[in-house]
């Protein structure tokens, strides 16, 4: 090392990083027990009306290596939100499952991700606005209960299949998804989800099918993703309405520890006969991550026919979160 380089090294100073921690409570050669969660305060401004959307999540999870061929694991996570008009809180389950991991793949049963969630997560990255278009049926949504899922991963390939029985709205259905990394940076995916579920408080039971594709690119500080979806969707009094949907996301990380994120997203959903599902907006966001802390601001610009927060309503949301 030359003297000049040494001076530069000293002058450039230490790059100090804030600690980032997850909470592992207990661990030995065979077992592990973790606790995680978040406390997140959020304020939303829509059409001049302020709404608090703060929430708390807590999860416990663990795994146990029974032998060289089988590791079992389980997880429970719930979310709490305060009621709008009193101090009571509403608790909802997000995860409740047990699974086993073998060299032939992973099997999980319970309240968990669907098979196609791997694909729809490509564009579900923003803190606030985005990742909605898959939420209209039980088996295409981010999570569903009473779901048996099989996952097989080998090098560049990820394959998942899931089946659901008697979930919310008495939903029965399935999902299949395959994803392939054509390079370390680019991953392509395709999937199908079908859900036969009740509408109009159980007065009707109708089937909806979704066919979807997705692609994502990740290199250095850039993340780009897009998902497209088509099929038929049902609603109270409406069966098999054709729909098309798309989600796009572009994010750029910069600064110390890549702790700054700017992103832009676009969401679109249009069904022939169901106006209430119309989604059409552009969203921009800035988020700052420091260790386990995050603070962010998100703005949604509603375009023609957007009903994601009322009739073409723009939204501003600010939030701060401590997670572990």
């Amino acid at each position: 090392m030359t003297f000049n380089k040494y001076l530069i090294a000293v002058a450039s100073g230490a790059i100090l990083s804030a600690p980032l921690s997850a909470a592992t409570i207990y661990k030995n050669d065979a077992q592990e027990f973790n606790v995680g969660g978040r406390v997140e305060v959020r304020g939303n401004l829509t059409d001049g009306e302020y709404t608090d959307k703060s929430r708390v999540r807590l999860n416990v999870n663990g795994k146990n290596k029974l032998n060289e061929d089988l590791t079992v694991f389980g997880r429970y996570e719930f979310e709490i939100k305060e009621n709008k008009d009193d101090n009571e809180a509403n608790l909802t389950t997000r995860h409740l499952y047990v699974g086993g991991d073998t060299q032939f793949g992973t099997v999980i049963y319970g309240h968990q991700s669907n098979a196609v969630t791997y694909l729809t997560d490509f564009t579900d990255v923003a803190e606030t606005f985005g990742g909605y278009i898959n939420e209209n049926t039980a088996t295409s949504s981010d999570r569903s209960k009473n779901t048996l899922r099989y996952i097989y991963e080998a090098d560049a390939l990820t394959f998942q299949v899931s089946g659901t029985q008697n979930a919310n709205d008495n939903a029965d259905g399935f999902g299949v998804m395959a994803a392939y990394k054509i390079s370390p940076e680019v991953e392509l995916a395709a999937g199908i989800a079908s859900s036969d579920q009740e509408y109009d408080n159980g007065a009707e039971k109708r089937q909806s099918d979704s066919y979807m594709i997705g692609a994502r690119y990740s290199k250095d500080n850039v993340y780009l993703a897009a998902t497209g979806m088509t099929g038929n969707i049902s609603a109270a009094g409406i069966a098999d309405s054709d729909f098309v949907a798309a989600d796009a996301y572009a994010g750029y990380y910069f600064g110390e520890d890549n702790g700054n994120l700017v992103n832009i997203g676009y969401s679109y959903y249009s069904a022939d006969d169901i106006a209430s599902l119309e989604t059409n907006f552009v969203a921009v966001e800035y988020a700052r991550y420091v260790g386990n802390f995050a603070v962010y601001g998100s703005y949604k610009l509603a375009l023609n026919n957007d009903m994601s927060a009322g009739d073409r309503e723009n939204e501003l949301q600010l939030g701060a979160r401590y997670g572990f």
Partner: protein, 199 residues
């Protein structure tokens, strides 16, 4: 004699760190230092180390956005022991894009260490593990115990000092320092210095 002493002290003050810290180790942001040569350390990059054998312990930590959720990944504590001299070393770790990759990394960390010539540097690695409750770990004591074992990254093991071509010796550095301060000195000091060393 007096001038030489002053000059020596001045040089010692300015370059003592250079003599004691001749290795510069640059690490990616995901690498969070826990211990450096058996002592607690916060994450600093570049890290300045003394010539010879060094042992660092760190975790690979990162945050990922998955399905609108934060995933906080923290690997087991990884120990790296290597020897070097008067060079800039760069550690690199892979980008972990999926839970499968994160699990695989934790099982078998893939780390590379290169010198300023981009040549691979030989190092030993291990893990600092504790069975049981993970609160209030005494990493300093754990590392002392680890270094009494015959694990690959233990200081009990002999680590070969890798000297890459073009690496400067201490004599080279001392010569450069003399040149540096001679150029900085005024004419009167230079004359006195020349008179002193000619005696």
């Amino acid at each position: 004699m007096k001038l030489w002493n002053i000059l020596s002290i001045a040089m010692a003050c300015c370059i003592s760190s250079q003599v004691l810290a001749d290795i510069q180790l640059t690490m990616p942001s995901q690498v969070k230092l826990q211990l450096v040569n058996g002592e607690k350390s916060s994450s600093v990059s570049p890290l300045l180390l003394k010539n010879g054998q060094n042992q660092i312990a760190f975790r690979y930590q990162d945050r990922y956005r998955v399905g609108g959720d934060d995933v906080f990944y923290s690997s087991d504590i990884i120990i790296m022991t290597f020897a070097g001299k008067d060079d800039n070393y760069v550690m690199s770790v892979p980008k972990l894009t999926s839970q499968a990759e994160r699990d695989a990394f934790n099982e078998k960390p893939s780390i590379s260490l290169k010198d300023s010539q981009s040549q691979n540097v030989v190092f030993e690695q291990g893990k600092l593990l504790k069975n049981g409750m993970q609160f209030d770990r005494d990493l300093v004591a754990e590392m002392k115990d680890y270094n009494l074992t015959s694990e690959p990254a233990s200081l009990q093991q002999r680590v070969t000092i890798i000297t890459t071509p073009g690496t400067q010796s201490e004599v080279d550095v001392a010569g450069k320092m003399l040149d540096y301060w001679y150029q900085k000195a005024d004419q009167k000091t230079r004359e006195q210095f020349k008179l002193r060393i000619s005696q």
